[in-house]
Symmetry: C2
Subunit: 342 residues, 2 copies
DNA sequence: ATGAAAGCGCTAACAG
DNA sequence: CTGTTAGCGCTTTCAT
């Protein structure tokens, strides 16, 4: 049984007027007489008339829909970004279509295609970890469809972007570890390819340098998920006696490392301090609570959407590329020691 | 600068053929000669032609898009449901539009409207906590648009639904607490209005009955979020000496309760055992790890989408209402004691 | 083997 | 103040 929703011409027929009269009456066009307007509106309410957004978009060549391409909504950082985007979008009458790439390049390509097929007015994207080829984004760019990158951006394309200052965040939290007495800090980082991971590694190295500590390459592991921590369990434990701190690129990795260390008799933070990145709500729920960096996902989402809205309202004037950098804030909790009084 | 994507008539013009020929060639209609077909296809690839999904939907009266209305994607249970839905949907060529109600009734109404405006072919919904009036869903039902409820359902409307056996889950885990020695179990539950919460409360009560333990109404608190636990902190601590177990309706509530008890010197599970519901990943990250019930969100999502697909492919035959009940599985971890050997 | 025309639901320029 | 018409992009009879 096909559902049939009432259309303007259904109303027109029922009331013995033309479709254009109905259309005008419904949007309070001044030409329509009070009487017919009321009659039409009343009838529309009665039959629960709802405009067909598809027809509208086709006609107006504007869908009032924006597409989001994001790795995985299960991560709090990403879902809070989405909330930020949505809140701004909704307040301006925009809908969002969310597509998850699941960190898969092929799926990301398909997402972009599907979104374009649906004629979204603009795109908000965070690239997948596995994306090295950016031609699908380049073709969006060439089609003149406004696009804003957030968090994991594509530097090869000249678009607006909203990012975290990963370098300074990492430098800040590594300095905190050093300041509280750590000298041999293990860094659990991402694959070298990921830009964000590189920035965090550089920030870590910079903090060592700032404090005249040597960079020991054995003290960095390519390990950025709980699963990966479990796979590196033996290696990490074999190093545990030689380290006094751990800085992980994200909270779930930090927490998993914390667990295997605790299970093996290491006291946190007395023996080993632990720091994460992102301030996932779980950071407050673990024992001991995790020192980390707050990343302001919600505000980043809002900002990304605002940038996109400006592009959308921009008719012809060229806007220069804007880059918004968010400074992460240190959340000192109990997995690191107190700062010693002078 | 308005983006202009290539249309069929652009191709037709460029190649000196009619739009219908292009349309047919692109979908391998047998009438079209090999030569023109190749020519058209090659050109389409060259200009990166992509069909306009809006026009297609309008024409075919089918959008191949389904709408999801869900409280909040930040919760792991909900985002895993979405993943389940998406994986089935994508494999069948459907797109999804996700709308968050943020547990707000008004927003939920707007979500449903927006989805209908976009002419989704069907709806997958989990109602918000604050929804008491179901007329927006009733009107969907009357419009004959297929709809499947999951997790938090609307019993007043006769539709397919996918649910957790909340009663038996609660009974199971409460029995586990009793079996491991608990006699005075505090239940942190939802507001009486929420059906799911009621079922869990009933399951808790049934387990007490099964074991000839009295139901003490003071031992149930309306408290189902971490924030609410903090608000009830004093009350909970004032009861702590008189209880030996806690069963919370969800994991984050259980964990927060666990923290305030631990902070105040209670040992978990030696003094007080704790159990949650849902098996959020965080259950494995806290100390001690949390005993809880696995809820299979991913599979519930898959199942809900499958039910919807059957409705969508159903042309006229009446299908009877189907209800799929998932049995939650006990995940015994370290926040409850071991089952004593006989 | 190809084209012309109508129509999905809606709007807007143009008539009257 | 209201109706007619054309067209957004596409498909699909019906002609030829």
């Amino acid at each position: 049984m096909k559902p049939h929703l009432t259309s303007i011409s259904d109303i027109a027929k029922a009331l013995g007027v033309s479709a254009s009269t109905v259309s005008r009456a419904l949007k309070d066009h001044p030409d329509i007489s009070e009487a017919t307007r009321e009659k039409i509106k009343a009838f529309a309410v009665k039959v629960n008339y709802r405009p067909n957004a598809l027809a509208l978009s086709l006609k107006k060549q504007v869908s009032h829909t924006i597409g989001i391409v994001i790795p995985e909504i299960v991560h709090h950082f990403f879902s809070s970004i989405i909330s930020g985007i949505e809140d701004i979008a909704y307040s301006k009458g925009y809908r969002v279509m969310i597509c998850q790439s699941n960190e898969d390049f092929r799926r990301e390509e398909m997402n972009v295609e599907a979104l374009l097929d649906h004629r979204v007015d603009g795109l908000l994207v965070c690239t997948s970890k596995s994306t090295e080829d950016f031609s699908h984004f380049l073709s969006v760019y060439r089609s003149q469809i406004p696009m804003v990158f957030f968090d994991r951006v594509c530097k090869e394309i000249d678009t607006d972007r909203v990012i975290t200052d990963d370098f300074n965040g990492a430098r800040l939290i590594t300095s905190h570890l050093i300041e509280t007495g750590c000298r041999k800090i293990l860094h659990l980082g991402t694959q070298p390819r990921l830009h964000i991971g590189q920035e965090r590694l550089q920030g870590y190295m910079q903090a060592l340098k700032d404090n005249n500590l040597p960079f020991v390459s054995e003290l960095t592991l390519n390990c950025d998920t709980p699963q990966s921590v479990m796979e590196h369990k033996d290696i990490i434990l074999s190093m545990a006696d030689k380290i006094d701190g751990v800085f992980a690129v994200n909270d779930s990795t930090a927490i998993t490392a914390m667990h295997i260390l605790r299970e093996n008799g290491y006291r946190i933070p007395e023996d080993i301090s632990i720091a994460g990145f992102g301030d996932d709500p779980v950071a407050n729920l673990v024992f001991p609570t995790l020192t980390t960096l707050e990343q302001q996902g919600y505000h980043m989402g809002q900002e990304a959407m605002k940038l996109l809205l400006e592009r959308l309202s921009q008719t012809d004037t060229e806007l220069t590329t804007r880059v918004k950098v968010f400074q992460p804030e240190l959340k000192k909790r109990n997995s690191t020691k107190s700062i010693p009084a002078k």
